[in-house]
């Protein structure tokens, strides 16, 4: 529905790229959406597991020292109900923070435009293959939730975006879930237990 890259026509008739149209932080938004539309898969590349671990530990509300648990999506769907509610409330509060900053700065139009384009692209890009897949919908919803926050923060605080690491994981198809029973859970697409058992480096990152 939205062709990429997006071109914007300004009020005075000039044609601008999205980054320029969004003002400060616009290039960060554009880069995020570029990664969304040209994702680098995680599974199959062992070097990416370290990237995944580091990214997951950089949660939107600060560094987590909990042991990482990389699980498949079905398991992630089960674990999602058990996310620490206090942690989630803190993330929600963090999500809402940039809106008031941007409105106070007179940039609510840029925020709405950025969210509009991002959500249009992301809703398509993260569409579950199976329309009846509940876990797929939960995962996609979580990824959209994170991406929306990352877009708002990119405009409000470019270069200091607390949602950037988790949004990056989401663009790679990973579903960062959160702290559940003392572990930091992330769901990885196409992860199967046979894959986890075949590489010793992965064992410390997976739950049995």
């Amino acid at each position: 529905m939205v062709a990429w890259p997006v071109e914007v026509v300004s009020d005075d008739g000039r044609r601008l790229g999205l980054a320029d149209a969004l003002g400060p932080g616009g290039s960060e938004v554009e880069e995020l959406l570029n990664r969304l539309l040209s994702p680098s898969p995680v599974v199959g590349d062992l070097a990416r597991w370290a990237w995944l671990a580091d990214g997951a530990a950089s949660t939107p509300v600060g560094h987590s020292s909990l042991p990482l648990a990389a699980v498949d999506f079905a398991t992630g769907g089960e674990r999602a109900a058990g996310v620490d509610p206090a942690w989630l409330a803190a993330v929600d509060q963090q999500r809402r923070a940039p809106r008031s900053l941007l409105v106070a700065d007179g940039r609510s139009d840029q925020l709405e435009a950025a969210l509009h384009v991002a959500m249009l692209l992301a809703t398509e890009a993260l569409d579950p293959d199976d329309d009846a897949d509940v876990v797929g919908h939960v995962a996609s919803g979580a990824q959209l939730w994170l991406l929306g926050a990352a877009v708002a923060w990119a405009l409000a605080a470019p270069g200091a975006n607390p949602f950037s690491p988790w949004a990056e994981l989401a663009t790679a198809g990973v579903w960062p879930i959160g702290p559940v029973d003392g572990r930091l859970v992330v769901a990885v697409p196409f992860l199967r237990s046979s894959v986890a058992h075949s590489a010793s480096q992965l064992r410390k990152f997976t739950m049995p």
Binding site: E124, H137, A142, W145
Partner: protein
């Protein structure tokens, strides 16, 4: 070509907006009214119901599901809006959204019942469009129906869980009663010149009362058979 009638409606397939305009201004108006209605109501639904539900969700899993559903509903609005633009509609947002969107969502229970009930009405209306003579509208309905059915199945599953909980059951019953009554006008007035035009041109097949009746039957089966609740006294006729 003689003018179509309700008894002998137009049955040819119209491939695109250009062909619609070549056929008849009345056809364009008929298709346009149905499309414009969906443009307004999908946006109203996403704004009034789905987005607030994200904050009401009781768990992360439910929150993220609500987020996905809200995005899909907003996407539906945009897709219908694209159809409206292709057909050359002046301002599809100019009319008023249905009165059901005056409902103030206050709880998660209301939201899940709403998905089970109000989205079922949407499914009933969209299923009718699967036979629409205006192919872009038919194809869009075919494309969106699986998503709408997911929304209904989500609502049903959650409503059943809540209805099985003695503490939550009274609120479910109250929400079912209120939302069914709210949804009935969704199908339009019993005596509707617009509906007659829709049927003449093969945009729709059913009278508003027939569509409303289908909704009542299907929602009654859910409420009575699956939830074990009483179904409110309703009238298949509605004239405002």
């Amino acid at each position: 070509m003689s003018a179509p009638t309700v008894a002998e409606p137009f049955v040819d397939e119209i491939a695109d907006a250009a062909e619609a305009h070549r056929l008849s201004p009345e056809y364009v108006v008929a298709a346009g009214k149905v499309i414009a209605s969906h443009v307004r109501n999908e946006l109203a639904g996403a704004t009034v119901f789905d987005e607030p539900a994200i904050a009401l969700a009781p768990s992360p899993r439910e929150k993220w599901l609500a987020c996905r559903i809200a995005m899909e509903e907003y996407g539906h609005h945009l897709r219908f809006n694209k159809l409206a633009a292709e057909l050359g509609l002046a301002d599809p947002m100019a009319g008023r959204a249905l009165s059901v969107f005056d409902y103030e969502l206050r709880t998660w229970t209301e939201f899940v019942v709403l998905k089970a009930v109000v989205d079922l009405a949407e499914v009933v209306l969209m299923e009718e469009l699967e036979d629409c003579t205006y192919l872009p509208l038919r194809h869009l309905a075919e494309r969106l129906l699986p998503e709408e059915r997911f929304h209904v199945s989500f609502g049903r599953a959650r409503t059943k869980e809540l209805a099985a909980n003695p503490e939550a059951r009274p609120e479910v019953e109250q929400a079912v009663d209120a939302l069914i009554r709210f949804t009935l006008p969704f199908f339009g007035r019993s005596a509707s010149p617009n509906n007659a035009a829709f049927r003449r041109w093969g945009i729709k097949r059913y009278t508003n009362d027939e569509a409303r009746s289908r909704f009542i039957d299907r929602s009654r089966r859910f409420v009575a058979d699956e939830l074990g609740l009483g179904y409110p006294e309703v009238d298949v006729h509605w004239n405002g």
